[in-house]
C-alpha cells in the first residue's frame, strides 16, 4: 500500500524554489523598454484640490508622461463595491468607493493624486518634487466618536453624515434576559488592529502587446481571476485578451484582496496608453498609507449572567472606523459582530454597530478581519464576570460551551457570506483540556505562581477560547490532468501567498491517483491556466479549492480505472492505483502506468467512442452551502516587570480544531505566523494618527512588528472535529493563530499584576499604557 499523504507531516514542495531564490515575484519581472511609475500622494488627510501644476515635471529629462484625474477622461470612475452589504433588515449602507486619482478633494494621507511615468523609478520620484498641488486644507475627521457629533466635518459631503453603515442584529430578547440576570457587567472596550506589513509590498507590471491585442499583468493579488475579469471590463477588452499572473507573493493577509487598488487600475491602462511595459512597485513608505489596514472599534458591551456563571445574554453596541472609503462593504464589522458569540451557548444577543467614515487609509480585512475585536470583548467580559462571581476563568468558559450534541448550532444572525451564522460542528472541551494540560494550568496556579510571587516575580497565565468562521463560498474550481510523463498537473483559480498550496493540494491529489506528492504540479494564480475562481481569503483555500481539487482528482481516478479496466480486462473494483500505476490487486505485475493511460486516452488516430472525453483530465467545482467553523484555545504565560512596564511571553500554547488536517506542518506554520502577528497586535503594533490625520507610525522604526526575539516558542496541538460541509472534512486554519492572542495576553498581564488590581479593557497594550494603568493616570 502506498503512503497516505493526507494528514502527513511532509515538507513543502515549494520550499526548495523559494529558499534558493528561484521563485518569480512581481518585482522580478523585467521587460525590455519598461517604464516606471511613482505616485504623488496627498500630504493632507482632508483638503480641497484647488489646482495641480505638473508642467515642471513634464520638462524633466526621462519623464514620459504625467497624469492627473482630469487626464484619465472616461477611465476615471469610482471602483466597484466588492462585497455588497448582507441582507439584514433595516440596514443602512452608504457606498463610497475609492477613485483612481483624487479629483477635487483628497480624503486621506497617501491618497494618489498624480501619476508620473518615467524611464526609471529614480527619475519618477525626482519628478514628484517638481509637481505643485495647491490644497485648501479642510478639518479632518479622525476620531470616530466626534465624527458622529452634529456639525462634524464630512468625509463625503453628499452622504450628509459620516455614517458608512448601521446594522442591528438580534437573537432572542436581551432586555428580557437582563431582567432575570443575577449579575450584569458592562464595560467600554477599545480594540485596534493594525496593518499586515507583508514582507512583499504590492506591485503591478503590465505589458500590452498591440499586435496580439493582448494584455499581461503581473499582480500581487490574492484573487487573480476577479482582477482579470474586472480589468478587462474596465478597459473594454474581452476576458480572453487579458492574462493576470499572481506569481509567488510575499504574504497576502487580506489587504492584497482589496479590489481594485487605484494603482492596480492605472498601471494596465497606462501600459496601453503608452504602448510600453509599465511597472510600479509599492515601497514601504507607501505601504503604510496606501495599502488597506484594519483599525479600531469602540465597544460598549454588557453581559448578563446567573450567579453560577451561566450566560443569559450579551449586548454590544460598537463603532467601527472604516477609513475614507468602504469598497469591501461590511465584512470587518460583520465579522466582529458574528465572532463575538464565540464557542458559547448564548440565548440572547443584541448587537448594533455604526461604521464611520474617517480621513484615514481604507479599512479592509487583515488576518482575523474583525474577529479579534469581537473575541476580545467576549473574553474580557467573561474574565471580569469570573472575577466578580468568584469562578475560575476556565470554568466559566467550560460551563457556557455549546455542548457537542447541539450542532449544527444556529446563532440566528447573518454572517459575512450572507448565510445564517450556523456552526457546522464543534467540540470545545477537549481543546480547552489539552491546552490546560500543555500550559500546565493547575500546577502553575497552585505551585509555580505562588513560588514566583514570593521571589518578587510577576508572572501570570492567560487562557482564552474562540471560534473562527472559515471556508466560506461561493466556490472554487480545479482542473486535474495526468500528463504523458505520468506526472499530474493541477490548476486552480485561487492565488497563493505562502499558504503551502503547492504541497497541501498535491497531497490531496497524490492520494487519489497513487502518485508521489512531488509529481503533482500545482498552478495557482494564473488566469491562463484556470478561468474561474474567487480568491484566497477568509481561511478558505484548503476548504473550498482543496475540495474542488479532491473532486476533480477523484473523477480522474475514475477515468483511469475505467480505461485501465478496459485495457487490462479486469473489473474496476479489482484495480488499485499505486506508485504511478494502475495495477491488479493481488497481482501487482499486471499493471499499466498512468502516463501510458494518459497517452492512450488521447489517441492521434482511430476513433473514440461517442461521449468520451480525451485525456485523463477532469474539471470540478466546489461550493459549500456555508462556512465551516474552526475553534480552539490559546494559553500563555507572561512575565511583567511592573517597574519598566515591559512584558515577556514565556510560553504560548495553541490547541486548534480545523477539522481534518491535511498537513500538520503547514497548519503549525500557519498558527505560528498567526500568533506572531497576534503578539504584534497585543503589545507592539499600533497605527497612531495625530489630530491632523497624519500617520505617526509610518515606518518600521515606529510601527513595531515583533521579531524572532519577541516571539516565544509556540506549542501547538490539534483536535479534529470534521466539518460535514465538505468532502475532506477540513476547516480553515489561516487566521486562528492571530485571533485571540491579545485577549490571552492581557488576561495573563492582569493575572501577573493581580496585586495592582488593574483592569485592561483595550488592545494593543503598550508599555506606556500599562504605566498609565498602574499609576492610575
Amino acid at each position: 500500500m502506498a503512503v497516505r499523504y493526507f494528514g502527513a507531516k511532509i515538507k513543502r514542495n515549494e520550499d526548495p524554489t523559494l529558499l534558493t531564490g528561484r521563485a518569480l515575484f512581481t518585482d522580478d519581472v523585467d521587460l525590455p523598454g519598461m517604464l516606471h511609475v511613482a505616485f504623488l500622494r496627498s500630504d493632507y488627510a482632508h483638503a480641497r484640490i484647488r489646482s495641480i501644476d505638473v508642467s515642471q515635471a513634464l520638462k524633466r529629462p526621462g519623464v514620459v508622461a504625467v497624469y492627473t484625474a482630469e487626464d484619465l477622461g472616461d477611465y476615471w470612475r469610482p471602483g466597484p463595491l466588492l462585497v455588497p452589504p448582507p441582507p439584514v433588515e433595516g440596514i443602512v449602507f452608504n457606498q463610497r468607493t475609492q477613485v483612481p486619482l483624487a479629483k477635487d478633494k483628497v480624503r486621506f494621507v497617501g491618497e494618489p493624486v498624480v501619476m508620473v511615468v518615467a524611464e526609471s523609478r529614480y527619475i519618477a520620484e525626482d519628478a514628484l518634487e517638481d509637481i505643485f498641488v495647491d490644497y485648501e486644507p479642510l478639518e479632518p475627521v479622525v476620531d470616530i466618536e466626534k465624527a458622529l457629533e452634529p456639525g462634524a466635518p464630512l468625509v463625503h459631503e453628499d452622504v450628509g453624515s459620516n455614517v458608512a453603515a448601521h446594522v442591528v442584529q438580534r437573537k432572542g430578547d436581551y432586555e428580557a434576559a437582563k431582567a432575570e440576570a443575577d449579575v450584569v457587567i458592562s464595560r467600554r472596550f477599545f480594540y485596534d488592529h493594525g496593518l499586515a506589513a507583508a514582507m512583499e509590498n504590492r506591485g503591478y507590471v503590465a505589458h500590452w502587446d498591440p499586435k496580439a491585442q493582448f494584455l499581461t499583468i503581473w499582480d500581487t493579488t490574492q484573487a487573480p481571476v476577479v482582477i482579470r475579469n474586472g480589468i478587462a471590463a474596465m478597459l473594454g477588452l474581452s476576458e480572453s485578451q487579458v492574462r493576470v499572473i499572481a506569481p509567488f507573493i510575499g504574504g497576502g493577509f487580506g489587504p492584497k484582496i482589496m479590489m481594485f487598488y487605484q494603482e492596480e487600475v492605472l498601471i494596465p491602462w497606462v501600459a496601453m496608453q503608452l504602448n510600453r511595459p509599465v511597472k510600479w512597485i509599492e515601497d514601504r513608505r507607501e505601504n503604510f498609507v496606501a495599502t488597506t489596514q484594519e483599525r479600531y472599534q469602540i465597544h460598549k458591551a454588557e453581559i448578563a449572567l446567573t450567579k453560577d456563571g451561566r450566560i443569559l445574554g450579551v449586548k454590544d453596541v460598537f463603532l467601527h472606523d472604516t477609513g475614507a472609503y468602504d469598497p469591501y462593504g461590511l465584512t470587518v464589522p460583520i465579522n466582529s459582530q458574528c465572532t463575538l458569540l464565540g464557542p458559547y451557548d448564548i440565548p440572547n444577543y443584541y448587537s448594533e454597530f455604526t461604521a464611520v467614515f474617517t480621513n484615514k487609509t481604507i479599512v479592509t480585512p487583515y488576518r482575523g478581519a474583525g474577529r479579534q475585536h469581537g473575541v476580545f470583548v467576549m473574553e474580557r467580559l467573561l474574565d471580569i464576570a469570573a472575577k466578580e462571581l468568584g469562578i475560575d476563568r476556565t470554568e466559566i468558559r467550560r460551563k457556557n460551551f455549546i455542548p457537542p450534541d447541539k450542532f449544527p448550532y444556529n446563532n440566528e444572525i447573518i454572517y459575512q457570506d450572507f448565510a445564517p451564522l450556523v456552526y457546522d460542528s464543534g467540540n470545545y472541551e477537549p481543546a480547552l483540556d489539552k491546552a490546560l494540560e500543555l500550559i500546565g494550568y493547575e500546577k502553575f496556579i497552585k505551585e509555580e505562581q505562588p513560588k514566583l510571587r514570593a521571589q518578587g516575580k510577576h508572572v501570570g497565565i492567560g487562557v482564552v477560547c474562540y471560534v473562527e468562521g472559515t471556508g466560506i463560498g461561493p466556490y472554487e474550481g480545479a482542473r486535474v490532468r495526468v500528463e504523458a510523463s505520468g506526472k499530474v498537473s493541477v490548476a486552480t483559480g485561487v492565488g497563493t501567498q505562502g499558504q503551502g498550496h503547492f504541497t497541501s493540494f498535491a497531497q490531496i491529489v497524490a492520494d487519489q491517483l497513487g502518485v508521489d506528492v512531488r509529481d503533482v504540479h500545482i498552478v495557482t494564480g494564473d488566469t491562463a491556466q484556470f478561468h474561474w475562481g474567487t480568491g484566497t481569503f477568509a481561511s478558505r483555500g484548503a476548504v473550498v479549492a482543496g475540495s474542488a481539487i479532491y473532486e476533480a482528482a477523484k473523477k480522474v481516478r475514475e477515468k483511469a480505472l475505467k480505461l485501465a479496466s478496459e485495457i487490462l480486462e479486469v473489473a474496476e473494483e479489482d484495480l488499485e492505483l499505486v506508485d504511478g500505476y494502475v495495477r491488479v490487486k493481488g497481482a501487482p505485475e499486471a499493471k499499466i502506468s498512468l502516463g501510458e493511460l494518459a497517452v492512450r486516452s488521447n489517441p492521434l488516430r482511430g476513433a473514440v467512442k461517442p461521449g468520451t472525453e480525451p485525456g485523463l483530465e477532469a474539471t470540478m467545482y466546489f461550493g459549500p452551502e456555508r462556512g465551516a467553523t474552526a475553534s480552539g484555545t490559546h494559553a500563555c504565560i507572561v512575565e511583567v516587570d511592573p517597574e519598566t512596564c515591559m512584558a515577556k511571553i514565556l510560553k504560548y500554547v495553541v490547541v486548534h480544531d480545523c477539522g481534518k488536517v491535511i498537513n500538520p506542518l503547514i497548519v503549525e506554520g500557519q498558527i505560528h505566523g498567526g500568533v506572531a502577528q497576534g503578539i504584534g497586535n497585543a503589545f507592539y503594533e499600533q497605527i497612531v494618527y495625530n489630530e491632523d490625520g497624519q500617520l505617526l507610525t509610518a515606518s518600521f522604526m515606529d510601527y513595531l512588528i515583533p521579531t524572532a526575539m519577541e516571539v516565544p516558542p509556540i506549542v501547538t496541538d490539534h483536535v479534529e472535529t470534521p466539518s460535514p460541509l465538505n468532502p475532506l472534512g477540513t476547516k480553515g486554519a489561516g487566521e486562528a493563530g492571530a485571533i485571540p492572542t491579545a485577549a490571552a495576553f492581557v488576561q495573563a498581564v492582569e493575572d501577573a499584576l493581580s496585586d495592582y488590581n488593574i483592569e485592561i479593557l483595550e488592545a494593543p497594550l503598550s508599555p506606556n499604557r500599562l504605566y498609565e494603568l498602574l499609576h492610575k493616570k
Binding site: 513608505r285 512596564c645 515606518s699 526575539m709
Partner: protein, 291 residues
C-alpha cells in the same frame, strides 16, 4: 524611497577624504556604516550632493592599547568588532556590556563607532557611554587636528561640534581607576530598537567606600547624551547605599532631564524609566566597584 542623485567618492586614505570634505564643505557627507544615513537619504530627509564613502579607508579601522592604560578605537571600526574585542572587554568593559544593546547583529556588522558618535542620535548608546567614560574624540581636517572631550562633542539633535571639513578619526577611552564599577541598561520596546531610555553609570569608590567619582549619563531623554549632574552631586563624597542611590535616581529623573513624549513613551513615562534605570545601573556599578 529612492534618493535624489548625488556624487559619490570612495577615497582610500584619510588625506583624500579630508581633501574632498574641504572641497565640498556643507554639500558633502561622510558615509560610514550607512545604517542611518542611507535610510535618511532614501526617505529624502537628507539629500547630500556629495557622499564621501569612508569604507575603503582601512587605516581607520583598529582597536589599540593606549599608553595611559586606556584604549583607542579607529572611527571606522565596526560595532561587531568592538563587541568581540578582548582589549575593549578588559579596558572598557562598559562599552563591551553596551554593544549587544545596539540594534541587531546585521546592523552591528556595518555600523561603526565613529559613525554612531558623528551621527549623534539622542537615543544612541555609544554617545552616552563614551561621555560616561570621559572619552574624547580626535577630529582632523586639512587645517589640522584637535581632541574634543566627548562631553563637549554633542551639542544638539543630530548635531556635533564637527566642522564640515572635519572628520572624526579616533575615539580615546581612558583607563578605569581602581575601585571603579560600571553598568549600562536600557528599556527598548523590542530587542534592538532605539531605547525609550538608557542609562550608563560609572562609579569610583575611595578607600573608605565613598563615591570619589560618579558619572551618570542618560540617552533618549534629551537632545543628546544627558549628564545627570544633580544626581551625581548627591552621591559624590557619600556612601552609595540604597537610600542614597534612590535619592540620586529620583533627583536625576526630576532635575537632570527634560524628556519629550512620542508615540512610544510619554515624557512622564520616560522620567519614570529614567529613575528606574538610574537606580539599577548605579546599584550595579556600586556592586562592581565594591567587588
Amino acid at each position: 524611497m529612492k534618493p535624489p542623485a548625488f556624487k559619490y567618492y570612495a577615497p582610500t586614505t584619510v588625506e583624500e577624504a579630508l581633501a574632498l570634505l574641504a572641497e565640498h564643505g556643507y554639500d558633502a557627507k561622510p558615509l560610514a556604516g550607512g545604517q542611518s544615513l542611507i535610510p535618511t537619504m532614501n526617505f529624502r530627509l537628507a539629500a547630500p550632493a556629495v557622499l564621501v564613502d569612508l569604507n575603503r579607508i582601512s587605516d581607520l579601522s583598529y582597536i589599540r592599547a593606549a599608553d595611559d592604560g586606556g584604549v583607542r578605537v579607529g572611527a571606522m571600526t565596526r560595532h561587531a568588532r568592538v563587541e568581540r574585542d578582548a582589549l575593549i572587554s578588559a579596558r572598557a568593559p562598559l562599552v563591551h556590556e553596551t554593544m549587544p544593546h545596539i540594534a541587531h547583529p546585521q546592523i552591528r556588522n556595518r555600523g561603526t563607532y565613529g559613525g554612531s558618535l558623528a551621527h549623534a542620535d539622542p537615543a544612541a548608546e555609544l554617545p552616552a557611554v563614551t561621555v560616561a567614560l570621559g572619552g574624547k574624540v580626535l577630529a582632523r581636517s586639512q587645517r589640522g587636528e584637535r581632541w574634543i572631550p566627548a562631553e563637549e562633542f554633542f551639542i544638539g539633535l543630530f548635531t556635533t561640534v564637527l566642522e564640515p571639513d572635519e572628520l572624526l578619526v579616533e575615539v580615546a577611552l581612558p583607563p578605569l581607576p581602581a575601585r571603579t564599577g560600571w553598568a549600562f541598561d536600557e528599556v527598548a520596546r523590542r530587542h534592538g530598537d532605539f531605547a525609550l531610555v538608557g542609562a550608563a553609570g560609572v562609579i569610583t569608590l575611595d578607600d573608605r567606600g565613598r563615591c570619589a567619582d560618579v558619572r551618570l549619563v542618560f540617552m533618549g531623554v534629551g537632545e543628546g547624551p544627558v549628564v545627570a549632574r544633580e544626581a551625581m552631586n548627591i552621591l559624590k563624597g557619600e556612601e552609595p547605599g540604597e537610600e542614597a542611590i534612590r535619592a540620586a535616581a529620583e533627583k536625576a529623573s526630576q532635575a537632570d532631564i527634560d524628556p519629550i513624549g512620542d508615540v512610544h513613551a510619554s515624557a512622564d513615562f520616560r522620567r519614570h524609566l529614567a529613575k528606574v534605570l538610574a537606580r539599577r545601573v548605579l546599584t550595579k556599578a556600586v556592586e562592581r566597584a565594591q567587588s
